[in-house]
Amino acid sequence: MGETLHNVMLLAPEVCITLFLCLLFIVDGLFPSLRSNRFPMILTVVACIASMILTAKVGKTPAAYFGGMVVNDGFTTFFRYLFFFTAAVSSYVAFGSKEVEAKSRIEFSLLLLCVTVGMSLMASASNLLVLYMGIEMVSIISFVMAGFRRDNLRSNEASFKYLVFGGVASALMIYGFSLIYGLTGSLNYSQIAASLIAAQGNVGLITWLALVLIYSGLAYKISAFPMHFWAPDVYEGAPTPITAFFSVGPKAAGFAALLRILLTVFAVKTGDGNWKAVEGLSLTSIIAVISAATMIVGNLSALGQTNVKRILAYSSIAHVGYMLMGLVTLDRSGITAIIFYLIAYCAMNIGAFWVVGVVSNIRGREDLEAFRGIGWSMPVLGTCMAIFIFSLTGIPMFSGFIGKFLIFGSVIKSGGFLWLALLGVLNSVVSLYYYVKILKSMWLDKPETEESLRLPFYHAVGLVGLAIPTIVLGLYFTPILEFAEKTLATLL
């Protein structure tokens, strides 16, 4: 029992979230009037902050617990921070948006916290079952969130598509898990890895099959090629604050899971702190192809779009492509780059979607036309959007550039995937074309009517709050870099 308690202690952040979840339930039952004001949001944010504090507390010593089912290492700690932060920001965003109705705020907060627990599980899982649980927890509740505007056709459609695609993807994945289980006789990462290594390069079709099926599930989560199809539709249809959350939170969780499974199961740590793929699995070139395909699909498809949300949806696919580039070399610098990129991406992407949300609340649409001249009537919003957009493009002085810099650096350093780096930079040029369309609408086109719009202070604070780290991380990123290095160093 003592051991279980100790285990639960290490799980404190998730437990904390769960407790708050219950609290929400209770409060809602006792004081139904509270559900339509900002109280649920405050509770959510408090929950996240409390969890972050707990994360800091429990994250000091890396350890596996629950019989090796989950691990609590620097990697987990990092992702917990990221998830809690994302959740907090998302609830902040959502509560300023008309798309999340006042009367449903309790449900929103509940679901958000549930998903957060799921994401946290995904990041710390070192057991296929726990991973599956985590993924399903995130997925199933995300289906509901995507359809959160119950009376909205698009939202419902998004939900439906998400559901079908997600259901199939996770079904494929669990089938893949079953194959792995059969192959290695275990569900634990470390035992699977040991078994794979013991096979000494004797890789059969079954391994590949399992790999492909597992990849399908994870790729669906991060919306990488070829499991990206759902993303634009769902992102477009879902309520904007929720899209902002989707594009960052579950995606980061997917990356967490992917990184961990890739690095601990399918790759072996080498002496110098880097990794190499398990004998017989030529992972790197496959990841390179996937990365290339993902970014090409994302960027090219975004070119002809007129809906800003959809543009950003495709762009988020493209960004996954960039991030995957960091994996091809399976070395520390690449993974560090991904971690940095996720941080930068979190701020800038939520910011960008936030702006879209604000605009669509005002204009009732999200297409480029709705953005027309809005920079002039709301300069703070316009400036922040410009910052996010430039950062997404990867222009220096903004964090997105540093992310790309680190990613390309890792690829070039290895020397083997120059073509991928070349493709990557060309893609970022292409991406400029559609990003700039948004800026063009906001700043270059004059508004038809001289309406005086005011950006609510509530949003201004949040947007500036996201813009500042975007710039600061673009100019000085040593601490984050060191943090990421440390994170990796303790990866179990």
Binding site: T4, F66, L111, V117, M133, M137, I140, D151
Partner: protein, 167 residues
């Protein structure tokens, strides 16, 4: 005994085929129920007695009935024909056969290469009742998933209710 298993397998496969091909969605759902039953029998033969029961309770008693309800609710309520007009079947068919082909190859290879347990061990495993074991495992080493699923179910419930509830 093996004959029962064989029949159960054939039954399962046959039901699944009907599920996949029957144009009437109601029939498909009913045959899914049969397929689940067949699988439950298979579980029984694989020494998963508890699981077989769970399969019947959860799937047959829960999921399938839920699905049937949904079909009835929606289709009778809205007077939509039960016959499901099929999409193009050629490409999906080819894809399914392709998947099946690779599965066959892969599984065949694997099954041959896996270490074989002795028949005695297998029989012993089958003969052991699993309910207690499962209970212990769920509250022991599988505590975490067990607790996690509660949160999942809570969330799913809240969500499903939120969606289904008329505004």
């Amino acid at each position: 005994m093996d004959l029962v298993l064989l029949l159960a397998e054939i039954f399962t496969v046959a039901s699944a085929v009907i599920v996949a091909f029957h144009p009437n969605i109601l029939y498909a759902a009913v045959f899914l129920l049969f397929a689940f039953c067949g699988v439950a029998v298979m579980f029984l033969f694989a020494g998963a007695d508890f699981l077989a029961g769970a399969q019947i309770i959860i799937y047959v008693g829960g999921v399938t009935i839920l699905i049937l309800f949904a079909i009835m609710l929606t289709q009778w309520l809205y007077k939509i024909k039960l016959v499901d007009i099929r999409n193009k079947m050629l490409l999906p068919g080819v894809l399914a056969i392709g998947i099946g082909f690779f599965l066959y190859r892969a599984l065949h290879q694997m099954a041959l290469s896996l270490p074989k347990l002795t028949p005695e061990a297998l029989d012993k495993f089958t003969a052991t009742p699993k309910t207690a074991l499962m209970g212990q495992a769920l509250l022991g080493s599988y505590l975490l998933p067990f607790e996690a699923i509660t949160i999942l179910l809570l969330g799913a419930l809240v969500g499903a209710v939120w969606l289904a509830r008329p505004e």
